[in-house]
């Protein structure tokens, strides 16, 4: 664990020179909130905007779901077994991320790295499974250009996949930062954001799993 942070005295309640009471949360007249609250809050807002992007993709998928243009329907192409494995990987990944949060709270470098590695590997497994699904569909000629339905499907699920991939890049950077910089407050806040992001991707996946795959194979 690096002790470099001890030389940089950034106490948490400092916020651009606001030395408000430590408990300030930014409500009412309490004065500026702490950095941790501000950063977490800002990232929450970002996640909400991301949810709106997904909402648009869900809406367009719903509009285009029946527009198969003579191509395959949802029922014909969805492989629920593979999707079940994907789901399991992603949920496991989120669980590992939860473990990492505990390790970070304990400031245990080894456990943190271990838990984050597990988070990354399960996430990677998800991405590989999803890629194989996409590759298989493409190989049968059912790529996104085949029909508007497939366009909507690939975009919605692919957008989630791109998010997970970006998250993996972030995760790698995060691990390097914990290793090089230790448990500094600013890195702790960054990790707070990462874990929110990672759990958020689970929430989106649950929606995709139910509304795309389950509904698609039943109807």
């Amino acid at each position: 664990m690096s002790t470099a942070d001890s030389t940089i005295t950034i106490a948490d309640p400092f916020r651009l020179g606001h030395r408000g009471p430590n408990l300030a949360r930014g409500h009412g007249g309490g004065g500026p909130a702490t950095k941790r609250v501000v950063v977490g809050y800002g990232f929450w807002l970002f996640l909400l905007t991301d949810i709106i992007i997904f909402a648009c993709l869900f809406a367009s998928y719903a509009v285009l779901a029946q527009a198969t243009a003579g191509g395959p329907t949802a029922k014909q192409i969805f492989d629920t077994d593979r999707v079940a494995w994907e789901t399991a990987c992603l949920l496991a990944s989120s669980f590992c991320c939860g473990l990492a949060t505990i390790a970070v709270a304990k400031r245990d470098q080894f456990l943190t790295q271990l838990a984050l590695l597990a988070t990354g590997l399960t996430g990677l497994a998800f991405i590989l499974l999803e890629s194989s699904e996409f590759a298989a569909l493409n190989a049968q000629g059912y790529g996104p250009s085949r029909s508007a339905f497939l366009t909507g499907f690939f975009t919605l699920v692919g957008c989630h996949g791109v998010h997970v991939t970006a998250g993996l890049l972030w995760l790698g950077t995060m691990m390097a930062q914990f290793y090089a910089k230790g448990f500094r407050p600013d890195i702790g806040r960054r990790f707070l954001c990462f874990s929110m992001f990672w759990h958020f991707l689970d929430v989106v996946w649950v929606a995709i799993f139910s509304l795309v795959y389950l509904v698609g194979t039943r109807l």
Partner: protein
């Protein structure tokens, strides 16, 4: 190697864009040469380009907005000139060019002129009004600005390299699909708007967090100045609406780049979905612009009437009312699509319901003036111009909200006149008033009143002469975006309209003259007190221009219009409040992250437009590296010692004390 890019992308055969482009390039090179020759580069780099100070960023946003306003205005002049002469003739602009001009005009005016101006004023004013030292995420703020600048740059590059979209300011498919617009114009539009849109989205996150989480102690919601309230409402709209834009443009991009079928004519694509999605962003976008404008008018009218805002709570309620309802009206942009009586009626009614919120605001402004002592300075004149013009614009807006009336007015010049009535009078007048109002705070000297008033009068006359004839030709059946026509009745109305543009050119000249004259005579227009207008909100507490940390000690707000109360007490007791205890202040360090990020965004955008894939990968790696370098830094902040703070604040107090002693105040 260079994708689709080759020499033929430069319009050597079209003198107008070529000359315009050459002039722009020469001006930019000239400015760069001057900066380098004078040795200003280190100053610009340290104090401006890498600055994360909300005031500096606000000023840069406003500068960008003003430059683009000029560019958009030149497009407008070209359009009016074309329609004045293109009766039974082709005019001087072929359709290929005319269509680019009106597309660029709309895109630039809404996204690269009005948006930067609104966001610039929010940047400058909101932290000062809330009594804090910066926004929640200062470096992110710089990233937002530079991404917006990237978008503006890409639009302007399209003038010389390739072409701009020829599809209107909202690229409706199928026209904007690859089959019907195979050129790079739509791609320029998509990447410019996408990149700047991400910048705007980040601004929204930044300001909602700022306003909700880091106000000065005691600054409860019901003590927030009106402009900050409207900025909050506007940023909430940004959060809810801009992701829709991002998603919609991404869909169109996938159609164009990877052969997807969201909106195509083939394989089940559905172009109507684009219209719904784009207006689910586009209509709130109007309110993103106009709500802060309402905030500016509230501040200006209250200050120059010498009264607090009438019905403050009512105004807050009306603002949030508009904020919510603006999301339920998008379908009125295409009543003529045939959605049926129920749907059209529902959206027609929801649209006119917005007029309730707006009406309440107008009446509250009226009663703010009632019993006031009104000083007709330039910002107040703009506000009066707004009130009268906006009421007319609202009237025609309600007509368009009535579906059967829209069935004969949709897409007509009447519509064009309507939205210019609300956007020019609502937003542009507000921005000019706001710039005038907060200019002394930003630069320490007031703008010249005479030239300002000349600008106002030429603008208002020019505005009416330009746009009233458009209502008429709209009623005479004229649709918009016509490159030529052969209806005699339209011709002379359009000629009158172009005379109006000439008057507006004079107004623009006066505006530029005002800035120059004021700069030259800045010593005599100097604002020593920091409170040139007898202001009421916290930004007038501090010096003009404010120190980097805004306030030596954070204000402890105990009342609405706290600064006004403080000032009255000081006058009554003929002395200032006790000197506070000064402490060292921690401020964020400058960072080139925003600039470097935008540099790579420009590369990525340009590479994608021209299909230069290797360059795109280079840009992506560069952007990622920028983030990592930023994340790796160890010392994000620096301290300003208490002595320095005390010294500067004592100078401010001395200036204030001088007013108390001598009673020499500009505004009395």
């Amino acid at each position: 190697m260079l994708g689709k890019l080759s020499w033929s992308a430069i319009p050597f055969d079209q003198p107008i864009p070529l000359i315009a482009g050459a002039v722009v390039v020469l001006l930019m090179l000239g400015a760069l040469a001057l900066v380098l020759a004078k040795g200003w580069m280190p100053y610009l780099w340290k104090e401006w380009i890498t600055s994360v100070d909300h005031k500096r960023l606000g000023i840069m946003y406003v500068l960008l907005g003003l430059l683009m306003l000029l560019r958009g205005f030149i497009d407008a002049i070209m359009m009016r000139a074309q329609q004045a002469v293109a009766y039974h003739a082709q005019g001087y602009l072929p359709p290929e060019h005319y269509n680019q001009v009106f597309s660029a005009h709309g895109t630039i005016m809404v996204l690269f002129a009005a948006m930067p101006l609104v966001i610039g004023l929010m940047n400058f004013v909101v932290p000062l009004q809330l009594g804090v030292r910066d926004v929640a995420f200062p470096t992110l703020n710089s990233v937002s600005f530079w991404l917006t600048a990237t978008g503006a740059l890409l639009v302007n590059i399209s003038l010389v390299v390739g072409e701009f979209a020829r599809t209107g300011w909202l690229p409706y498919p199928p026209l904007s699909e690859l089959r019907y617009s195979p050129g790079v114009g739509v791609d320029y539009y998509l990447w410019a708007v996408q990149i700047s849109g991400i910048g705007t989205l980040l601004t929204g996150i930044n300001f909602v967090t700022t306003i909700l989480k880091i106000r000065a102690p005691g600054m409860t919601y019901m003590r927030m100045p009106m402009f900050s309230w409207t900025a909050l409402a506007s940023c909430l709209l940004i959060l809810a609406a801009f992701p829709v834009l991002t998603a919609t443009l991404a869909m169109l991009t996938l159609d164009r780049y990877l052969g997807f079928h969201f909106f195509t004519n083939e394989a089940g694509g559905n172009a109507m979905m684009f219209m719904n999605l784009i207006w689910a962003w586009g209509h709130p976008e109007v309110y993103i612009l106009v709500l802060p404008a309402f905030g500016i008018y509230s501040e200006v009218i209250s200050t120059f009437s010498g009264k607090p805002l009438f019905g403050y709570r009512s105004m807050v309620a009306a603002t949030l009312f508009i904020c919510v309802v603006s999301f339920m009206t998008w379908l009125h942009h295409f009543f003529t699509m045939g959605a049926g009586g129920d749907v059209n009626a529902a959206f027609g009614i929801s649209t006119s319901i917005i007029a309730v919120g707006t009406g309440v605001k107008i009446y509250n402004w009226l009663f703010t003036m009632y019993g006031g002592r009104i000083r007709f300075t330039t910002p107040m004149l703009w506000s009066m111009g707004f009130l009268t013009t906006f009421i007319t614009g609202g009237l025609t807006g309600v007509l368009l909200a009535v579906p059967p009336a829209d069935f004969i007015l949709h897409n007509s010049m009447f519509l064009v006149a309507h939205f210019h009535h609300v956007i020019v009078a609502g937003v542009v007048f507000a921005l000019l008033a706001g710039i005038e109002f907060w200019w002394p705070k930003a630069f320490g000297y007031r703008l010249h009143e005479g030239w300002g008033k000349a600008t106002f009068w030429f603008s208002i006359v020019g505005f009416y002469v330009t746009f009233m004839p458009m209502y008429v030709v709209g009623i005479l059946g004229m649709t918009r975006r016509l490159q030529h026509y052969d209806v005699a009745e339209w011709h002379w109305w359009l000629q009158i309209s172009s005379v109006g543009v000439l008057i507006l050119i004079v107004a623009a000249g006066c505006q530029v003259a005002q800035l120059l004259v004021s700069y030259i005579r800045r010593e005599e227009l100097k604002d020593i007190t920091g409170d040139p207008w007898n202001g009421r909100t916290l930004e007038w507490v501090t010096t003009s221009p404010p120190p980097v940390y805004n306030f030596a000690v954070l204000p402890q707000v105990i009342d609405t219009e706290y600064y006004w109360e403080l000032k009255q007490r000081a006058f009554e007791q003929a002395r200032l409040s006790e000197e506070p205890k000064y402490e060292a202040i921690e401020m964020p360090r400058n960072s080139p992250t925003g600039f470097v990020c935008a540099f790579f965004a420009t590369i990525i955008g340009f590479a994608l437009i021209w299909h230069i894939w290797w360059l795109m990968i280079v840009g992506l790696i560069g952007a990622y590296a920028t983030f990592v370098v930023f994340a790796w830094r160890d010392v994000p902040e620096y301290m300003i010692p208490a002595d320095e703070v005390a010294q500067q604040d004592r100078a401010r107090r001395a200036a204030r004390q001088h007013i108390l002693n001598t009673g020499e105040v500009a505004w009395q």
